[in-house]
């Protein structure tokens, strides 16, 4: 980031400290329980990965700036100010070994929301110049090109043409007055374009009026992953502008955990005003269609399926029951892994870790946790709802020589969808 400095970093830390953060730091009794909720600790047993420890520089700034005792100690020259070296030392802890999955926030006995604080700490780390190069690159591409992976409109258009050829359906682009506007993650566009075809098929059967905007199709927000609110707000605003232009009522957040957090929960707070539209996760919408009897299947999946909850969709996002309803509808043998739903273990690559090459080895090491969960149910296939999880699951499964395909829930439903009943038309 340009103009990065320690001073800006400390200033951002101070800005980020609110009553919850102060309360969390005041409450920590250093019991160490959060370590056992974090796969970076459980799979390496290295105490430096204890979640609360990852926040140490932020805690020191809180203590020195916002407590009477700390201020007194600072005034007397008794406290050690946070240095640039400290932040450099903490960079890998904050970015490589934390996916902001929030599992620690669920078990802390005094109730500290540690993931909430990591998100805030990244604000200071980024402006202090201590964000990983991989994430800086992704963020710059998101701002200049519109996609963290550098996916431009022509690339999307090419994928759409391909999907149209394969499915024989028309993918609506820039249709004014549609009900729903679909966002996609770059990963979906490049690696899983089948998702677009699957959704088109489902929406066709259920008579959902939808469109994709050529101005704002990217759902992810690198500004959030790296921790630069101005950039994050700019990326959200692009979507808001597109919604206003196309006059849609709803925005669909796709199969991407991080995107859901970004557009559903952080978006309005980043731009400083409530939306004039609603954001639904694609699984929420599909479950709504299921409830209304608008999803008609011609067959059911007979394989043994399990579901990997993407952290930002389930634990941090609140979409927990919907995928289960959908899986029970589409599969004969849906088996839950131990510790699932809001207590699921992260795949190990969320929160920008997958964009950060430096963390590649570590994310594959900690995948052992997911392996253990999978070994407990031995599924024929894993279903998930996040293309980032999906790619990392595939990486991890390959590394540990496990031959289990990873499926998208939306695509799984589309595969078993009945032909559209045209008699009513």
């Amino acid at each position: 980031m340009s103009g990065a400095s320690l001073e800006r970093g400390i200033h951002a830390f101070k800005e980020a400290i609110d009553a919850p953060v102060a309360s969390f730091f005041s409450s920590c009794v250093r019991c160490g329980l959060c370590a056992h909720a974090c796969l970076f600790f459980t799979e390496t047993e290295d105490p430096k990965y204890t979640p609360i420890h990852k926040l140490e520089p932020l805690r020191r700034v809180w203590q020195q700036e916002y407590t009477f005792w700390g201020r007194l100690a600072s005034a007397l020259g008794l406290s050690k100010p946070v240095t640039d070296e400290d932040l450099a030392d903490w960079e890998t802890l904050v970015y490589d070994s934390c996916t902001m999955c929030g599992r620690c926030s669920m078990i802390c006995p005094v109730g500290n929301d540690i993931a909430y604080m990591i998100r805030k700490m990244r604000e200071g780390m980024a402006v202090a110049g201590h964000a990983p190069p991989g994430l800086i690159g992704a963020t710059q591409r998101a701002v200049t090109i519109g996609s963290p992976m550098g996916v431009k409109l022509p690339a999307l258009q090419a994928q759409i043409r391909q999907v149209e050829e394969e499915t024989g359906m028309t993918i609506p682009v820039d249709v004014e007055g549609a009900d729903y506007m679909l966002l996609l993650s770059s990963m979906e566009i490049m690696n899983f374009p089948e998702f677009i075809g699957a959704l088109a098929k489902i929406f066709d059967q259920a008579d959902v009026s939808w469109t994709i905007s050529s101005n704002a199709f990217e759902a992810t927000n690198s500004g959030i992953q790296i921790g630069v609110s101005e950039i994050a707000a700019e990326l959200v605003q692009r979507i808001v502008d597109a919604v206003e232009k196309l006059k849609v009522k709803y925005v669909i957040s796709p199969e991407c955990g991080h995107a859901y957090m970004a557009i559903r929960w952080e978006g309005p707070n980043l731009i400083g005003k409530p939306y004039s539209f609603k954001v639904v996760h694609v699984l929420e919408l599909l479950d709504e269609l299921r409830e209304q009897g608008r999803l008609k299947l011609s067959s059911k999946e007979s394989q043994r399926l399990t579901y990997h909850d993407p952290c930002q969709i389930a634990r941090r996002g609140g979409v927990v029951q919907q995928p289960r309803n959908l899986l029970n509808m589409v599969a004969d043998d849906f088996a839950e892994m131990p510790e699932t739903g809001t207590m699921n273990w992260c795949c190990g690559a969320g929160g920008g870790v997958s964009s950060n090459e430096r963390a590649d080895e570590l994310r594959l090491t900690v995948f052992k946790r997911k392996k253990a969960q999978l070994d407990a149910v031995r599924p024929d296939a894993i279903v998930s709802a996040c293309s980032n999880c999906r790619i990392h699951l595939e990486d991890g499964l390959e590394k540990y020589a496990m031959e289990i395909p990873v499926l998208s829930l939306t695509e799984t439903i589309a595969e078993h969808l009945a032909e559209k009943d045209k008699s009513g038309e």
């Binding site: 920590c28 329980l33 916002y66 407590t67 009477f68 005094v110 309005p268 005003k273 996002g317 609140g318």
Partner: protein
């Protein structure tokens, strides 16, 4: 200074001073947190922040099964010494009499034999907690001077109370004076250390539960 003078000093000016630091300190610390405020959440809620917050205040006292299995020692010793400490503090007859004299409220006490047994259990558990803090890699890594200080000022009132009750070593006057002094140390250290969690954990759990509850998650 005679033993009686010492007791008078401990029960008089020192207790007053400790009480002032304790109460004023807590108020200042809580205000320091609350004045920071927090931004209003502009995203459309899925669930209730207030309900989520209140729920987590209660539910976070009990770990879910898998976490409990993974961290049984910390969880179980944590429960025992907290209960032991609080029950001996609030249900021992002389303590209730003191509270009644100061605040004008009282409640039934537990039999002395129960309190006696509980003190021993608390003392042993606190020793186990200390050994665990030193022996466990994660806890040793996280611990600072403050953690050992807090352990000491928590341990001493229980130990000196037990010794005073059984009249071990010194005269009853000295034993009770030392016991009160140890409580004063706890009170003075309280507002400046993690002992504050006794109050702030309700805020933290509330915030945690509210953040999750707003999104429709039970945290």
């Amino acid at each position: 200074m005679s033993e009686n003078d010492f007791l008078l000093l401990v029960r008089g000016p020192l207790l007053t001073g400790a009480t002032i630091i304790f109460m004023l300190g807590i108020v200042v610390r809580l205000l320091e947190i609350l004045v920071l405020g927090r931004k209003r959440n502009l995203a459309e809620p899925r669930g209730s922040a207030v309900k989520g917050g209140l729920r987590t205040i209660v539910m976070r006292s009990i770990a879910e099964r898998e976490t409990l299995q993974r961290t049984a020692f910390t969880e179980v010793t944590g429960w025992i010494f907290h209960i032991g400490f609080l029950v001996t503090l609030f249900f021992y007859t002389p303590h209730i009499l003191l509270i009644s004299k100061v605040a004008g409220i009282s409640w039934p006490a537990l039999p002395t034999t129960v309190i006696d047994a509980l003190s021993i259990v608390t003392i042993i558990t606190l020793l186990a907690v200390l050994i665990h803090r030193i022996g466990n890699r994660v806890m040793r890594f996280l611990s600072r001077f403050q953690d050992y200080l807090v352990w000491t000022v928590t341990f001493l009132p229980v130990l000196t109370g037990y010794l005073a009750f059984h009249r071990v070593g010194l005269s009853p006057t000295m034993l009770i004076a030392i016991h009160i002094l140890s409580v004063e140390m706890l009170m003075v250290v309280f507002p400046f250390t993690k002992l504050m969690h006794a109050f702030t954990l309700f805020m933290s759990r509330y915030y945690n539960g509210a953040i999750a509850g707003y999104r429709g998650v039970n945290s």
